[in-house]
Amino acid sequence: MTVHWSRIAIYAVLIVFAALYLMPIYVLLVTGLKSFGEVRLDQMWDLPSRLRFDSFREAYNSLDSNLANSFKMVIPATLISCMVGSINGYVLTKWRFPGSNVVFFLLLYGMFIPYQSVLIPLVKTLQALHVYGSLWGLVVTHVIYGIPITTLIFRNYYANVPTELVEAAKIDGASIFGIYRRIVFPLSLPGFVVVAIWQFTSIWNDFLFAVTVTSNPAIQPATVALNNMAGSFIVEWNVQMAGALITALPTLVVYILLGRFFVRGLMAGALSS
């Protein structure tokens, strides 16, 4: 094989960019491994004098129950989001009715509201629903504000699932629910992966709703606790960064494990309208 300079150049560019993309993570990691005294802005690139996981331990100790809260909220919220989006997408592609495009438009438009502007009515509404101040309140909030994006993704995804399958099942005697349960749902995995990743990440990373809806530290999600690690007083950057890494870990794991399916799901039509 002849060596092609153009290929070498391509790899070089890719590697340089990879390094640039990893730079922030390097800083997070290195700072997290330092002691408080070592943390100085002008020494941020230096490796820690010795490996110490104290900051991680400390961060973890102050975050662990909140991480559990996050999971308790994110998992049901993501699952429900997926189901709701999937059902909406199913109806909007396979059971179209007069005005279904308008309905889709109305649902989708919700994606674009600035969330800071709805906090006050949100709290009142959640109170009326008796879920304010609980993780379920957060679940409800995230599921509802997730409807636009999940519906969009599933609608685009289902547009590429042959309608003949649904028709064949209709003729075979299945009802609207039967078709969903036995035909459409089992074929939805790539769509679910995309939606799950998307929702998991954005719900997990949300701070605004979390801090607004839950005030009891015992039930607050990790993002709020992480934020509280930086008081108005001294910021222990090493612990802060360690905490940031710990908090980001679940989403990173999700991306690394499911990244392949994410791309595949996107290729299968999710998000390409």
Partner: protein
Amino acid sequence: MARVVYEHVTKRFGDVTAVNDLSLEIEDKEFLVLVGPSGCGKSTVIRLLAGLEPLTTGNIYIGDRLVNDLPARDRDIAMVFQSYALYPHMSVFDNMAFGLRMRGTPKDETRRRVLEAAQALEIESLLKRRPAQLSGGQRQRVALGRAIVREPLVFLFDEPLSNLDAKLRVQTRAELTKLHGRLQTTFIYVTHDQVEAMTMATRIAVLKDGLLHQVGTPEELYFRPDNIFVASFIGSPAMNFVPGTLTGTAEEMTLDAGAWHIALPASRSRQLAPFTNSEVVVGIRPEDIHDPDFLPARVRGCAIQARVDVTEMMGNEKFLHLVSGTEKVLARVDPRTRARAGQDIKLMLDIDHLHVFDPKTEAAIAKIEIPEELREPPSA
């Protein structure tokens, strides 16, 4: 076990009228083939019957039941799709069993019926596979099997062979014909391939732009097309059309069509006498143009001149792409012909197989007879 009746059925999609005032009775146990060019509304016709689209106006009956508002699942029909629409996440067995399960058939019976159908279609060995692991032909059989196990009142087929290669298509065609004989059920079959229509149908319905153009047996459509469209659509390669004029009277009519000057025999002259001095369109099938050296004995020929443009060897026959006057004409002759590209040659038209149409209405004004040997007894 069911007649199907379309009564003034119309279906519109927005501005498009996909089916236009269709009235059609399909007898029990018939093998009706709907043909027509792409977009003519064939699929819509059977999708209306299946309950996959709501009617705009009109009525549809299955047996004696008006089914206009019946959901698909209650119509007791089965359908084979062009794409087969096999459930990709289910095994072949589950694909075939799905319809029975949905109807709550007992497990034992489901199993029995699936196995039976699989046996009949010789796909028992595939029952555990997924559709993705099957070849095109195997998928086609599974789709067929899925329809058969249901034992429905009516079978619908939407171009089920168009994804198969030529060889498999020939074979499956014959199998479908046998299946129909065995099941003794009404088949309604959509295709745009007139060969399929000719070979399998007990009756063919020709559709164009949502309108029904002619319904009849394959022989009727081949020999006695109602209009230019049917004439051109049935038969392959397609009929040649040449504009011309009729002159003369009673026993001695003459047909002038481009470079052709054809004296008609008495029998045909009589038939065409009313149209003397009219413009007409003459239709002649490629197989009715013969090389004089290999003229079959039964044929009454009439000589014409033409230049050979291209020749195509087909093994047991040869296509001659001819130019006669300004008209392009295709002839399908004995392969031993000595005609070569570029030559001017003499050819014989089968004078008893000249079709004549009105150029304005496009309707046939003089039909030919179906050769006696081909008139099958009604219930062959």
